[in-house]
């Protein structure tokens, strides 16, 4: 599969130019715009070869070439040079995380989506830390009146999950306290994902006589456990509209309605097989979803501590500025992990 070095140059020129111009690029353009000391005719021959090999294609007989998905893949894997960000851009990123006095996780995520989409001009997707991975800290019941109480599940990362539960008047406050402290003792220090359903049913058995009241408590626990579909935060959803490939309303519609479906998005970002620097690039059909077969996704995961806690991605057209996007993503993940 070895491409001659001249073919590589030409492929690189085609991809680079097409990324910038969004126009099929012809032999003449390459010989003029890039300093390959070659005549259009030579380039034409190589382009024909590249087309036959599946790296390029012609939209129609008499147009220039555009990269195929295979072409992009080769570009990303072999040809792409790492981009440098402008100093001002780096500063902008640093400022967001240093200067802003935002320490709430949700805030941080929102700022990140905005930052990322405004820098890249694509759509950004961010998934935050997972409740599942945090350790159980405390369970607490706070009565409102003699029927309802607020049940709080606190994790050591500061997550709080709460639920209003109904409890029988017959339950004395002493008894209530005993139950709560029993549960606390049993659950102490466990991470949420260790809260297997086995353990829950065990607890359920132990406290059989209080079962009615506790039902809702267990429901909360089970919910925390089941909550593996996490909210995907989006930014710059309208950016795709400025991409010329989305002049077609039908495509826009398909993408936007995908954006409304959290479950699909979460799935889209899932299971990145980390590549260079922990960044994965998925080009076109490599994304399983129908709607994004003409898009590329650049994904990074980030850690707080040693566990991977979140995913952060950029969705743009296949004709995306890969190297720049990757550079931005790296920079942001870096800053993010300092928190």
């Amino acid at each position: 599969m070895g491409l001659s070095s001249r073919k590589k140059d030409i492929l690189q020129a085609v991809v680079t130019d097409y990324i910038k111009m969004a126009q099929p690029v012809g032999s003449r353009t390459i010989s003029r715009r890039y300093q390959v000391g070659l005549s259009p005719a030579t380039i034409r021959n190589d382009m024909a070869d590249l087309e036959e090999m599946g790296y390029l294609l012609q939209p129609h007989t008499s147009a220039g070439r555009i990269p195929t998905q295979k072409g992009y893949r080769y570009y990303v894997d072999e040809l792409m040079e790492t981009a440098d960000l402008e100093e001002s851009e780096k500063d902008k990123i640093k400022q967001v995380y240093e200067f802003e006095k935002i320490r709430e996780i949700e805030e941080i995520i929102k700022y990140t989506t905005n930052l990322l989409s405004s820098l890249t001009n694509y759509t950004s997707l961010v998934i935050g830390p997972q409740l599942k991975k945090s350790a159980f800290k405390k369970l607490q019941i706070m009565p409102f009146d003699n029927q309802r109480a607020l049940l709080l599940l606190v994790a050591d990362t500061g997550f709080v999950k709460n639920k209003v539960i109904h409890y029988p008047q017959t339950l004395s406050s002493g008894e209530l306290n005993r139950i709560v402290s029993y549960l606390n003792r049993r659950l102490e220090g466990l991470t949420i994902d260790k809260l297997t359903s086995r353990l829950i049913s065990e607890l359920r058995r132990d406290l059989y006589h209080h079962i009615k009241f506790l039902e809702e408590t267990f429901t909360l626990l089970e919910e925390s456990l089941a909550e593996d579909e996490r909210r995907v935060f989006l930014g710059g959803t309208t950016n795709i509209l400025s991409q010329p490939e989305f002049g077609d309303l039908e495509k826009v519609r398909a993408l936007l309605s995908l954006f409304e479906q959290n479950a699909l998005l979460a799935n889209l970002l899932a299971r990145p097989v980390a590549g260079i620097d922990g960044i994965t690039v998925r080009i076109g059909r490599e994304n399983m979803l129908e709607e994004v077969q003409e898009c590329s996704l650049v994904i990074a995961t980030y850690c707080l501590g040693k566990e991977v806690v979140g995913t952060i991605g950029v969705l743009g057209p296949t004709r995306m500025e890969y190297s720049r996007t990757i550079a931005i993503l790296e920079q942001i993940v870096n800053q993010l992990q300092k928190i």
Copy 2:
């Protein structure tokens, strides 16, 4: 401003037909499709009058008429007949609120946005109950380690606001408890919006010697107070794309980017001067926002208990099925309030 009864009929026919067909409607169409026993010529004369009066307009010399915003306004205020929903639709609404075992406020809101947008085929906007209006229940501090603690502010409606704060090691746990119980005593039973900044600074003075630690606590309180911009939940944002008036990408872009700006949306839904049945209709330019000058907004407020707690709205083109939308909204608000 009295329109002759025949002109009313004609205006109504034009609006009705245009709402259904999205095509300028001509005199011939009206005389054929609606049983006014009139010839096209007569209708033409009246239409010319209606145009002069500002209720109708012609896109170009030789097209039919379409309603102006004034025309829609007159239609909504005077001509519109109340729509009946199909039994199946009513059932669908009831099911969502009765059958589903969702009792979390956020869940309810999400289901509502989906329901509303799928029934109307427009975009739905829902604002939930306001933290501000709930009564303060309890402040609680839960230490993590000897530097950080979780600060919880619980309201009686089940709202929980939390923040991780840093506190000095020098603070003994007894002292901490005293501070917390002091604050609880002072704040007990107040609704959040009674938490004036005067009160907060008073407290701040009283606890001057603990000031450093408490600073973050006060920040939380002030944040709760300031939080008058509430999250607007959206549903069916892509529905607008199927409306023929949004064939233009620029308009779509403007609207969608509006949808990303929570603050503007919140403002858009604000201050409805309740009309019939507590439902407000804002047509075109009656909405202050540039981006929705070609849209109409139907807004209802809902109560849980006696206080108005939330707003729920539908955004569609000015050529919207007003009566149907209103009927759906009424039905949903009704069911919602039963909770």
